[in-house]
Protein backbone atom coordinates (compact mmCIF):
# COMPACT_ATOMS: atom_id res chain seq x y z
CA UNK A 1 0.00 0.00 0.00
CA UNK A 2 1.44 3.41 -0.94
CA UNK A 3 2.30 5.66 1.99
CA UNK A 4 -0.28 8.22 1.03
CA UNK A 5 -3.12 5.70 1.15
CA UNK A 6 -1.87 4.24 4.40
CA UNK A 7 -1.72 7.69 5.95
CA UNK A 8 -5.21 8.50 4.86
CA UNK A 9 -6.47 5.17 6.24
CA UNK A 10 -4.74 5.82 9.56
CA UNK A 11 -6.28 9.25 9.68
CA UNK A 12 -9.74 7.76 9.14
CA UNK A 13 -9.23 5.22 11.90
CA UNK A 14 -7.89 7.92 14.16
CA UNK A 15 -10.99 10.03 13.56
CA UNK A 16 -13.32 7.11 14.14
CA UNK A 17 -11.59 6.32 17.41
CA UNK A 18 -11.89 9.94 18.46
CA UNK A 19 -15.60 9.89 17.73
CA UNK A 20 -16.14 6.63 19.63
CA UNK A 21 -14.24 8.03 22.57
CA UNK A 22 -16.04 11.35 22.71
CA UNK A 23 -19.57 10.52 21.62
CA UNK A 24 -21.97 11.14 24.49
CA UNK A 25 -23.26 7.60 24.74
CA UNK A 26 -21.64 4.74 26.57
CA UNK A 27 -19.98 2.09 24.40
CA UNK A 28 -18.86 -1.28 25.72
CA UNK A 29 -17.73 -4.22 23.57
CA UNK A 30 -17.78 -7.64 25.17
CA UNK A 31 -16.95 -11.15 24.05
CA UNK A 32 -19.00 -14.34 24.49
CA UNK A 33 -17.93 -14.58 28.15
CA UNK A 34 -18.77 -10.96 28.91
CA UNK A 35 -15.14 -9.87 29.08
CA UNK A 36 -14.76 -6.23 28.11
CA UNK A 37 -12.75 -5.33 25.03
CA UNK A 38 -13.78 -1.70 24.52
CA UNK A 39 -14.69 0.92 27.10
CA UNK A 40 -15.18 4.46 25.86
CA UNK A 41 -14.68 7.80 27.57
CA UNK A 42 -18.36 8.13 28.52
CA UNK A 43 -18.20 4.86 30.45
CA UNK A 44 -14.89 5.84 32.00
CA UNK A 45 -16.14 9.25 33.12
CA UNK A 46 -19.41 8.05 34.60
CA UNK A 47 -18.12 4.89 36.25
CA UNK A 48 -14.76 6.28 37.37
CA UNK A 49 -13.13 3.10 36.01
CA UNK A 50 -10.27 3.48 33.55
CA UNK A 51 -9.82 1.25 30.50
CA UNK A 52 -6.64 -0.29 31.98
CA UNK A 53 -8.73 -1.51 34.91
CA UNK A 54 -11.58 -2.98 32.90
CA UNK A 55 -10.20 -4.29 29.61
CA UNK A 56 -10.10 -8.09 29.35
CA UNK A 57 -12.00 -8.35 32.61
CA UNK A 58 -15.45 -9.76 33.21
CA UNK A 59 -18.18 -7.14 33.45
CA UNK A 60 -20.07 -8.94 36.21
CA UNK A 61 -16.95 -9.14 38.36
CA UNK A 62 -16.23 -5.45 37.84
CA UNK A 63 -19.83 -4.42 38.53
CA UNK A 64 -21.24 -6.86 41.08
CA UNK A 65 -24.44 -4.77 41.26
CA UNK A 66 -25.32 -5.37 37.62
CA UNK A 67 -28.57 -7.33 37.30
CA UNK A 68 -26.74 -10.30 35.85
CA UNK A 69 -29.67 -12.59 35.02
CA UNK A 70 -31.63 -9.78 33.50
CA UNK A 71 -28.75 -8.52 31.40
CA UNK A 72 -27.84 -12.00 30.15
CA UNK A 73 -31.42 -12.53 29.00
CA UNK A 74 -31.08 -9.44 26.83
CA UNK A 75 -27.67 -10.44 25.45
CA UNK A 76 -28.12 -14.14 24.71
CA UNK A 77 -30.61 -13.57 21.84
CA UNK A 78 -28.08 -11.20 20.25
CA UNK A 79 -25.49 -13.96 20.13
CA UNK A 80 -27.99 -16.52 18.91
CA UNK A 81 -30.20 -14.53 16.54
CA UNK A 82 -27.62 -12.01 15.33
CA UNK A 83 -30.09 -9.19 15.81
CA UNK A 84 -30.06 -6.26 18.18
CA UNK A 85 -32.05 -6.13 21.41
CA UNK A 86 -33.21 -3.08 23.32
CA UNK A 87 -34.08 -2.16 26.87
CA UNK A 88 -35.76 0.97 28.18
CA UNK A 89 -35.72 2.80 31.49
CA UNK A 90 -39.35 1.83 31.90
CA UNK A 91 -38.35 -1.80 32.30
CA UNK A 92 -35.52 -1.01 34.67
CA UNK A 93 -34.38 2.57 35.34
CA UNK A 94 -30.72 1.82 34.72
CA UNK A 95 -28.22 -0.90 33.95
CA UNK A 96 -25.18 0.83 35.49
CA UNK A 97 -25.76 2.88 38.60
CA UNK A 98 -24.27 6.20 37.57
CA UNK A 99 -24.99 9.09 39.94
CA UNK A 100 -26.54 12.05 38.26
CA UNK A 101 -23.98 14.78 37.94
CA UNK A 102 -25.59 18.16 37.17
CA UNK A 103 -25.80 20.00 40.53
CA UNK A 104 -28.31 22.62 39.44
CA UNK A 105 -30.57 21.33 36.71
CA UNK A 106 -30.18 17.65 37.55
CA UNK A 107 -33.50 16.43 38.91
CA UNK A 108 -32.80 12.74 39.40
CA UNK A 109 -30.55 10.86 41.78
CA UNK A 110 -29.12 8.62 39.09
CA UNK A 111 -28.88 8.39 35.33
CA UNK A 112 -31.86 6.76 33.65
CA UNK A 113 -30.65 4.59 30.80
CA UNK A 114 -31.88 2.98 27.63
CA UNK A 115 -29.64 0.32 26.16
CA UNK A 116 -29.13 -1.20 22.75
CA UNK A 117 -27.15 -4.40 22.34
CA UNK A 118 -25.74 -4.98 18.86
CA UNK A 119 -24.18 -8.11 17.40
CA UNK A 120 -20.61 -7.80 16.08
CA UNK A 121 -19.68 -10.44 13.54
CA UNK A 122 -16.32 -12.10 13.05
CA UNK A 123 -14.94 -12.92 9.61
CA UNK A 124 -16.92 -16.19 9.53
CA UNK A 125 -20.17 -14.35 10.13
CA UNK A 126 -20.61 -15.55 13.72
CA UNK A 127 -21.39 -13.20 16.56
CA UNK A 128 -18.08 -13.14 18.41
CA UNK A 129 -18.75 -9.94 20.33
CA UNK A 130 -21.60 -7.70 21.30
CA UNK A 131 -21.62 -3.94 21.56
CA UNK A 132 -23.58 -2.40 24.39
CA UNK A 133 -24.72 1.18 23.85
CA UNK A 134 -25.87 3.08 26.94
CA UNK A 135 -27.99 6.19 26.42
CA UNK A 136 -28.55 8.83 29.10
CA UNK A 137 -32.33 9.37 29.03
CA UNK A 138 -32.65 11.04 32.42
CA UNK A 139 -34.38 14.14 31.10
CA UNK A 140 -36.89 12.14 29.08
CA UNK A 141 -37.63 9.87 32.01
CA UNK A 142 -38.04 12.71 34.47
CA UNK A 143 -40.36 14.56 32.08
CA UNK A 144 -42.43 11.48 31.39
CA UNK A 145 -42.78 10.78 35.10
CA UNK A 146 -43.80 14.37 35.78
CA UNK A 147 -46.36 14.14 33.01
CA UNK A 148 -47.84 10.93 34.38
CA UNK A 149 -48.00 12.45 37.84
CA UNK A 150 -49.63 15.64 36.57
CA UNK A 151 -52.22 13.61 34.69
CA UNK A 152 -53.00 11.60 37.80
CA UNK A 153 -53.41 14.78 39.81
CA UNK A 154 -55.65 16.31 37.19
CA UNK A 155 -57.71 13.17 37.11
CA UNK A 156 -58.05 13.17 40.88
CA UNK A 157 -58.94 16.87 40.86
CA UNK A 158 -61.65 16.29 38.31
CA UNK A 159 -63.16 13.54 40.44
CA UNK A 160 -62.93 14.84 43.97
CA UNK A 161 -65.17 17.36 45.68
CA UNK A 162 -62.88 19.88 47.31
CA UNK A 163 -64.85 20.54 50.51
CA UNK A 164 -65.62 16.95 51.45
CA UNK A 165 -62.78 15.03 49.74
CA UNK A 166 -65.48 12.65 48.52
CA UNK A 167 -66.15 12.00 44.84
CA UNK A 168 -68.01 14.80 43.12
CA UNK A 169 -71.44 14.21 41.68
CA UNK A 170 -70.28 13.56 38.10
CA UNK A 171 -67.77 10.90 38.98
CA UNK A 172 -70.00 9.34 41.61
CA UNK A 173 -72.80 9.01 39.07
CA UNK A 174 -70.41 7.30 36.66
CA UNK A 175 -69.67 4.79 39.39
CA UNK A 176 -73.35 4.33 40.06
CA UNK A 177 -73.81 3.53 36.39
CA UNK A 178 -70.93 1.03 36.43
CA UNK A 179 -72.32 -0.65 39.52
CA UNK A 180 -75.73 -0.86 37.94
CA UNK A 181 -74.28 -2.57 34.85
CA UNK A 182 -72.22 -4.91 36.99
CA UNK A 183 -75.34 -6.03 38.82
CA UNK A 184 -77.03 -6.69 35.49
CA UNK A 185 -74.17 -8.94 34.46
CA UNK A 186 -73.18 -10.72 37.65
CA UNK A 187 -76.10 -10.16 40.06
CA UNK A 188 -73.77 -9.36 42.93
CA UNK A 189 -75.91 -7.43 45.45
CA UNK A 190 -75.41 -3.69 45.79
CA UNK A 191 -77.09 -1.22 48.10
CA UNK A 192 -77.45 2.51 47.71
CA UNK A 193 -77.72 5.01 50.54
CA UNK A 194 -78.82 8.61 50.02
CA UNK A 195 -78.70 10.85 53.04
CA UNK A 196 -78.74 14.49 53.98
CA UNK A 197 -78.17 16.68 57.01
CA UNK A 198 -81.36 17.52 58.90
CA UNK A 199 -82.34 21.18 59.06
CA UNK A 200 -79.16 22.21 57.35
CA UNK A 201 -80.66 25.49 56.20
CA UNK A 202 -81.21 26.41 59.82
CA UNK A 203 -77.53 25.72 60.61
CA UNK A 204 -76.53 28.04 57.81
CA UNK A 205 -79.01 30.74 58.81
CA UNK A 206 -78.13 30.63 62.49
CA UNK A 207 -74.35 30.15 62.39
CA UNK A 208 -73.35 31.33 58.93
CA UNK A 209 -71.94 29.55 55.88
CA UNK A 210 -68.49 28.98 57.35
CA UNK A 211 -70.01 26.86 60.10
CA UNK A 212 -72.28 25.24 57.51
CA UNK A 213 -69.21 24.21 55.53
CA UNK A 214 -67.57 22.89 58.68
CA UNK A 215 -70.64 20.76 59.40
CA UNK A 216 -70.53 19.31 55.88
CA UNK A 217 -66.83 18.61 56.31
CA UNK A 218 -67.31 16.87 59.66
CA UNK A 219 -70.19 14.74 58.44
CA UNK A 220 -68.12 13.74 55.40
CA UNK A 221 -65.32 12.76 57.70
CA UNK A 222 -67.62 10.50 59.72
CA UNK A 223 -68.64 8.91 56.44
CA UNK A 224 -65.08 8.51 55.19
CA UNK A 225 -64.02 6.87 58.43
CA UNK A 226 -66.73 4.27 58.09
CA UNK A 227 -66.16 3.41 54.43
CA UNK A 228 -64.75 0.10 53.34
CA UNK A 229 -62.26 -0.12 50.48
CA UNK A 230 -64.98 -1.08 48.02
CA UNK A 231 -67.63 1.48 49.02
CA UNK A 232 -68.06 4.50 46.78
CA UNK A 233 -69.12 7.74 48.41
CA UNK A 234 -69.85 11.06 46.78
CA UNK A 235 -71.31 14.50 47.51
CA UNK A 236 -74.57 14.43 45.61
CA UNK A 237 -75.76 17.97 46.26
CA UNK A 238 -75.18 20.78 48.80
CA UNK A 239 -75.77 18.78 51.98
CA UNK A 240 -76.78 15.56 50.27
CA UNK A 241 -74.56 12.49 49.98
CA UNK A 242 -74.65 9.14 48.17
CA UNK A 243 -72.93 5.90 49.09
CA UNK A 244 -72.78 2.79 46.93
CA UNK A 245 -72.13 -0.27 49.07
CA UNK A 246 -70.86 -3.02 46.81
CA UNK A 247 -71.56 -6.67 47.60
CA UNK A 248 -73.94 -5.52 50.33
CA UNK A 249 -77.59 -6.44 50.85
CA UNK A 250 -80.33 -4.26 52.31
CA UNK A 251 -79.62 -5.56 55.81
CA UNK A 252 -75.94 -4.63 55.57
CA UNK A 253 -76.95 -1.28 54.11
CA UNK A 254 -79.32 -0.51 56.94
CA UNK A 255 -76.67 -1.50 59.42
CA UNK A 256 -74.18 0.88 57.74
CA UNK A 257 -76.78 3.66 57.71
CA UNK A 258 -77.66 3.26 61.38
CA UNK A 259 -74.03 3.20 62.45
CA UNK A 260 -73.32 6.38 60.50
CA UNK A 261 -76.47 8.03 61.88
CA UNK A 262 -75.41 7.32 65.48
CA UNK A 263 -71.84 8.52 64.86
CA UNK A 264 -73.05 11.83 63.44
CA UNK A 265 -75.63 12.23 66.21
CA UNK A 266 -72.96 11.86 68.87
CA UNK A 267 -70.43 14.06 67.18
CA UNK A 268 -69.87 17.47 68.76
CA UNK A 269 -68.94 19.95 66.06
CA UNK A 270 -66.76 22.68 67.50
CA UNK A 271 -67.22 26.19 66.14
CA UNK A 272 -65.65 29.45 67.32
CA UNK A 273 -68.31 30.15 69.87
CA UNK A 274 -70.02 26.90 70.70
CA UNK A 275 -70.47 23.21 70.03
CA UNK A 276 -73.28 22.19 67.73
CA UNK A 277 -74.91 18.87 66.99
CA UNK A 278 -76.55 17.76 63.79
CA UNK A 279 -78.40 14.65 62.69
CA UNK A 280 -78.87 12.95 59.36
CA UNK A 281 -81.69 11.07 57.63
CA UNK A 282 -80.93 8.15 55.35
CA UNK A 283 -82.76 6.26 52.61
CA UNK A 284 -81.49 2.76 51.81
CA UNK A 285 -82.29 0.75 48.70
CA UNK A 286 -80.92 -2.60 47.58
CA UNK A 287 -80.66 -3.06 43.83
CA UNK A 288 -83.14 -5.61 42.46
CA UNK A 289 -83.88 -7.04 39.05
CA UNK A 290 -87.09 -5.03 38.69
CA UNK A 291 -85.21 -1.73 39.01
CA UNK A 292 -84.72 -0.82 35.37
CA UNK A 293 -82.45 2.19 35.45
CA UNK A 294 -79.98 3.74 37.84
CA UNK A 295 -82.31 6.78 37.97
CA UNK A 296 -85.05 4.55 39.34
CA UNK A 297 -82.61 3.19 41.91
CA UNK A 298 -81.77 6.74 43.01
CA UNK A 299 -85.46 7.66 43.22
CA UNK A 300 -86.24 4.68 45.42
CA UNK A 301 -83.46 5.56 47.86
CA UNK A 302 -84.68 9.14 47.77
CA UNK A 303 -88.18 8.00 48.70
CA UNK A 304 -86.71 6.26 51.75
CA UNK A 305 -85.01 9.50 52.65
CA UNK A 306 -88.25 11.43 52.13
CA UNK A 307 -90.07 9.03 54.45
CA UNK A 308 -87.54 9.78 57.23
CA UNK A 309 -87.99 13.51 56.70
CA UNK A 310 -91.76 13.11 57.05
CA UNK A 311 -91.49 10.97 60.16
CA UNK A 312 -89.27 12.96 62.48
CA UNK A 313 -85.82 12.82 60.85
CA UNK A 314 -82.64 11.35 62.43
CA UNK A 315 -83.47 7.87 61.18
CA UNK A 316 -82.87 5.36 58.38
CA UNK A 317 -85.46 3.76 56.17
CA UNK A 318 -85.25 0.98 53.59
CA UNK A 319 -87.20 1.40 50.42
CA UNK A 320 -89.12 -0.18 48.77
Amino acid sequence: MPDRELNSLLKDVHWLMDILQNIDVGLVVMDRDYNISLWNQFMQNHSGKFPEGVLERNIFELFPDLPQDWFRRKCEPVFLLQSATFTTWEQRPYLFHFPHYRPITGTARFMYQNCTILPLLDTQGNVSHICLIVYDVTDTAVNKRAQIEANQQLQALSRIDHLTQLYNRGYWEQNLHQEFLRFDRYEIPATLILFDIDHFKKVNDTHGHTVGDEVIRQVSQCLREQLRETDIAGRYGGEEFGVILTATTQEGGLDFAERLRRTVEQKAIQTDRQQIHVTISLGVCELAADIKTEQEWLQLADQGLYYCKEHGRNQSRCYP
Binding site: R73, K74, E76, P77, L80, L81, Q82, S83, A84, T85, F86, T87, T88, E90, Q91, N114, T116
Partner: protein, 204 residues
Protein backbone atom coordinates in the same frame (compact mmCIF):
# COMPACT_ATOMS: atom_id res chain seq x y z
CA UNK B 1 -54.48 3.88 -7.53
CA UNK B 2 -53.29 1.99 -4.51
CA UNK B 3 -52.90 -1.25 -6.41
CA UNK B 4 -50.11 0.44 -8.35
CA UNK B 5 -47.76 0.50 -5.40
CA UNK B 6 -46.54 -3.02 -6.11
CA UNK B 7 -46.86 -4.90 -9.40
CA UNK B 8 -48.15 -8.43 -9.21
CA UNK B 9 -44.64 -9.78 -9.70
CA UNK B 10 -43.25 -7.55 -7.00
CA UNK B 11 -46.01 -8.58 -4.65
CA UNK B 12 -45.39 -12.29 -5.24
CA UNK B 13 -41.68 -11.76 -4.81
CA UNK B 14 -42.14 -9.90 -1.53
CA UNK B 15 -44.42 -12.64 -0.26
CA UNK B 16 -41.91 -15.31 -1.22
CA UNK B 17 -39.05 -13.45 0.42
CA UNK B 18 -41.09 -12.84 3.55
CA UNK B 19 -41.99 -16.50 3.62
CA UNK B 20 -38.38 -17.65 3.46
CA UNK B 21 -37.23 -15.00 5.93
CA UNK B 22 -39.91 -15.87 8.43
CA UNK B 23 -39.22 -19.55 8.06
CA UNK B 24 -35.60 -18.95 8.94
CA UNK B 25 -36.61 -16.69 11.79
CA UNK B 26 -38.96 -19.36 13.12
CA UNK B 27 -36.14 -21.88 13.07
CA UNK B 28 -33.92 -19.60 15.15
CA UNK B 29 -36.76 -18.79 17.51
CA UNK B 30 -37.50 -22.46 17.99
CA UNK B 31 -33.88 -22.99 18.99
CA UNK B 32 -33.93 -20.04 21.37
CA UNK B 33 -37.22 -21.01 23.00
CA UNK B 34 -36.85 -24.73 22.68
CA UNK B 35 -40.43 -24.84 21.41
CA UNK B 36 -42.13 -25.27 18.08
CA UNK B 37 -43.08 -22.00 16.39
CA UNK B 38 -46.05 -22.11 14.01
CA UNK B 39 -46.11 -19.40 11.35
CA UNK B 40 -48.84 -18.48 8.94
CA UNK B 41 -47.99 -17.79 5.29
CA UNK B 42 -47.25 -14.08 5.12
CA UNK B 43 -50.01 -12.04 3.53
CA UNK B 44 -48.90 -9.09 1.45
CA UNK B 45 -51.41 -6.34 0.81
CA UNK B 46 -51.56 -2.73 -0.27
CA UNK B 47 -53.55 -0.92 2.37
CA UNK B 48 -54.69 2.62 3.11
CA UNK B 49 -54.35 3.98 6.65
CA UNK B 50 -58.00 3.24 7.38
CA UNK B 51 -57.57 -0.31 6.00
CA UNK B 52 -54.73 -0.77 8.46
CA UNK B 53 -56.89 0.58 11.28
CA UNK B 54 -59.56 -1.96 10.32
CA UNK B 55 -57.04 -4.79 10.18
CA UNK B 56 -55.86 -3.91 13.67
CA UNK B 57 -59.45 -3.77 14.85
CA UNK B 58 -60.17 -7.21 13.41
CA UNK B 59 -57.11 -8.67 15.13
CA UNK B 60 -58.38 -7.31 18.38
CA UNK B 61 -61.92 -8.55 17.92
CA UNK B 62 -61.03 -12.19 18.25
CA UNK B 63 -60.32 -11.93 21.94
CA UNK B 64 -60.65 -8.64 23.68
CA UNK B 65 -63.05 -6.14 22.26
CA UNK B 66 -62.85 -3.48 24.90
CA UNK B 67 -59.24 -3.71 25.83
CA UNK B 68 -56.63 -1.47 24.27
CA UNK B 69 -54.24 -3.04 21.79
CA UNK B 70 -51.33 -4.75 23.47
CA UNK B 71 -48.19 -4.60 21.47
CA UNK B 72 -44.94 -3.09 20.49
CA UNK B 73 -44.01 -0.79 17.63
CA UNK B 74 -40.50 -0.69 16.21
CA UNK B 75 -39.13 1.39 13.39
CA UNK B 76 -36.69 0.03 10.84
CA UNK B 77 -34.70 1.76 8.15
CA UNK B 78 -32.01 0.96 5.61
CA UNK B 79 -31.03 1.35 1.98
CA UNK B 80 -34.00 3.31 0.70
CA UNK B 81 -36.59 1.34 2.62
CA UNK B 82 -38.11 2.29 5.94
CA UNK B 83 -41.15 1.29 7.90
CA UNK B 84 -42.60 0.19 11.16
CA UNK B 85 -43.11 -3.26 12.60
CA UNK B 86 -46.15 -3.70 14.81
CA UNK B 87 -46.19 -6.76 16.98
CA UNK B 88 -49.58 -7.36 18.56
CA UNK B 89 -50.20 -9.77 21.37
CA UNK B 90 -53.94 -10.02 21.64
CA UNK B 91 -54.89 -13.50 22.70
CA UNK B 92 -51.67 -14.13 24.58
CA UNK B 93 -51.44 -15.24 28.18
CA UNK B 94 -48.67 -13.48 30.04
CA UNK B 95 -48.13 -16.53 32.22
CA UNK B 96 -47.37 -18.55 29.09
CA UNK B 97 -44.97 -15.93 27.81
CA UNK B 98 -43.21 -15.96 31.15
CA UNK B 99 -42.90 -19.72 31.02
CA UNK B 100 -41.53 -19.61 27.48
CA UNK B 101 -38.97 -16.96 28.41
CA UNK B 102 -38.15 -18.79 31.64
CA UNK B 103 -39.24 -16.13 34.09
CA UNK B 104 -41.13 -16.64 37.34
CA UNK B 105 -44.36 -14.94 36.48
CA UNK B 106 -45.43 -11.81 38.29
CA UNK B 107 -47.92 -9.20 37.00
CA UNK B 108 -45.24 -6.48 37.18
CA UNK B 109 -43.33 -8.45 34.61
CA UNK B 110 -45.73 -7.81 31.73
CA UNK B 111 -43.77 -4.95 30.21
CA UNK B 112 -40.57 -6.95 30.44
CA UNK B 113 -42.17 -9.94 28.74
CA UNK B 114 -43.54 -7.90 25.85
CA UNK B 115 -40.23 -6.12 25.31
CA UNK B 116 -38.25 -9.36 25.40
CA UNK B 117 -40.61 -11.09 23.00
CA UNK B 118 -40.59 -8.24 20.55
CA UNK B 119 -36.81 -7.96 20.74
CA UNK B 120 -36.62 -11.55 19.74
CA UNK B 121 -39.53 -11.91 17.32
CA UNK B 122 -39.27 -8.52 15.64
CA UNK B 123 -35.50 -8.76 15.53
CA UNK B 124 -35.48 -12.22 14.01
CA UNK B 125 -38.03 -11.35 11.33
CA UNK B 126 -36.51 -8.06 10.26
CA UNK B 127 -33.06 -9.55 10.30
CA UNK B 128 -34.31 -12.42 8.14
CA UNK B 129 -35.96 -10.06 5.73
CA UNK B 130 -32.83 -7.93 5.45
CA UNK B 131 -30.79 -11.02 4.67
CA UNK B 132 -33.15 -12.10 1.92
CA UNK B 133 -32.99 -8.62 0.43
CA UNK B 134 -29.21 -8.61 0.82
CA UNK B 135 -29.26 -5.38 2.78
CA UNK B 136 -28.95 -4.18 6.32
CA UNK B 137 -31.79 -2.71 8.34
CA UNK B 138 -31.21 -0.60 11.42
CA UNK B 139 -33.84 -1.16 14.07
CA UNK B 140 -35.04 1.60 16.33
CA UNK B 141 -35.84 0.95 19.97
CA UNK B 142 -39.13 -0.89 20.45
CA UNK B 143 -41.93 1.25 21.81
CA UNK B 144 -44.50 -0.42 24.00
CA UNK B 145 -47.98 0.70 23.02
CA UNK B 146 -49.83 2.10 25.99
CA UNK B 147 -53.48 3.07 26.15
CA UNK B 148 -52.58 6.68 25.33
CA UNK B 149 -51.26 5.57 21.94
CA UNK B 150 -54.56 5.50 20.18
CA UNK B 151 -53.43 3.81 16.95
CA UNK B 152 -56.83 4.13 15.38
CA UNK B 153 -56.74 7.89 15.89
CA UNK B 154 -53.14 8.08 14.67
CA UNK B 155 -54.15 6.33 11.47
CA UNK B 156 -57.49 7.89 10.70
CA UNK B 157 -57.63 11.35 12.24
CA UNK B 158 -54.33 12.81 11.25
CA UNK B 159 -52.88 14.31 8.16
CA UNK B 160 -50.46 11.56 7.13
CA UNK B 161 -47.92 12.06 4.39
CA UNK B 162 -48.84 8.76 2.74
CA UNK B 163 -52.01 7.23 1.32
CA UNK B 164 -51.07 3.62 0.90
CA UNK B 165 -48.57 1.18 2.27
CA UNK B 166 -47.31 -2.30 1.59
CA UNK B 167 -48.25 -4.42 4.59
CA UNK B 168 -46.85 -7.86 5.33
CA UNK B 169 -48.87 -9.71 7.94
CA UNK B 170 -47.72 -12.84 9.69
CA UNK B 171 -49.30 -14.73 12.53
CA UNK B 172 -47.23 -16.63 15.07
CA UNK B 173 -48.33 -19.18 17.55
CA UNK B 174 -46.20 -21.37 19.73
CA UNK B 175 -47.17 -24.96 20.17
CA UNK B 176 -48.46 -25.91 23.64
CA UNK B 177 -48.55 -22.29 24.80
CA UNK B 178 -51.34 -19.73 24.61
CA UNK B 179 -49.20 -17.27 22.74
CA UNK B 180 -50.58 -15.59 19.68
CA UNK B 181 -48.87 -12.67 17.98
CA UNK B 182 -49.49 -10.87 14.77
CA UNK B 183 -46.60 -9.11 13.14
CA UNK B 184 -47.40 -6.33 10.69
CA UNK B 185 -44.62 -4.80 8.65
CA UNK B 186 -45.86 -1.51 7.30
CA UNK B 187 -43.86 0.20 4.56
CA UNK B 188 -45.51 3.37 3.38
CA UNK B 189 -45.43 4.46 -0.25
CA UNK B 190 -42.92 7.24 0.35
CA UNK B 191 -40.37 4.87 1.89
CA UNK B 192 -40.63 1.94 -0.46
CA UNK B 193 -38.36 2.89 -3.39
CA UNK B 194 -35.38 0.90 -2.12
CA UNK B 195 -37.54 -2.18 -1.58
CA UNK B 196 -38.97 -2.03 -5.10
CA UNK B 197 -35.48 -1.76 -6.55
CA UNK B 198 -34.36 -4.84 -4.64
CA UNK B 199 -37.47 -6.80 -5.62
CA UNK B 200 -36.97 -5.94 -9.29
CA UNK B 201 -33.39 -7.08 -9.06
CA UNK B 202 -34.51 -10.40 -7.59
CA UNK B 203 -37.26 -10.87 -10.18
CA UNK B 204 -34.85 -10.46 -13.13
Amino acid sequence: MTAMLLSEDQRDCLQEIANVAMGQAADRLARLFDAFVVLSIPQVGILTPSDIAMTLESLRDQSSQNEPLTGVAQGFIGDGVAGEALLLFNGTRYQDLAELLKYDYHPNLNRELLMDTSNVLGGACLHGLARQLDTHLSLGPPHLLDPSDDIDRLLTQRDLDWNSAAVVEINYTIEHYRINCDLLLVISENCIAGLLEKLDYLID
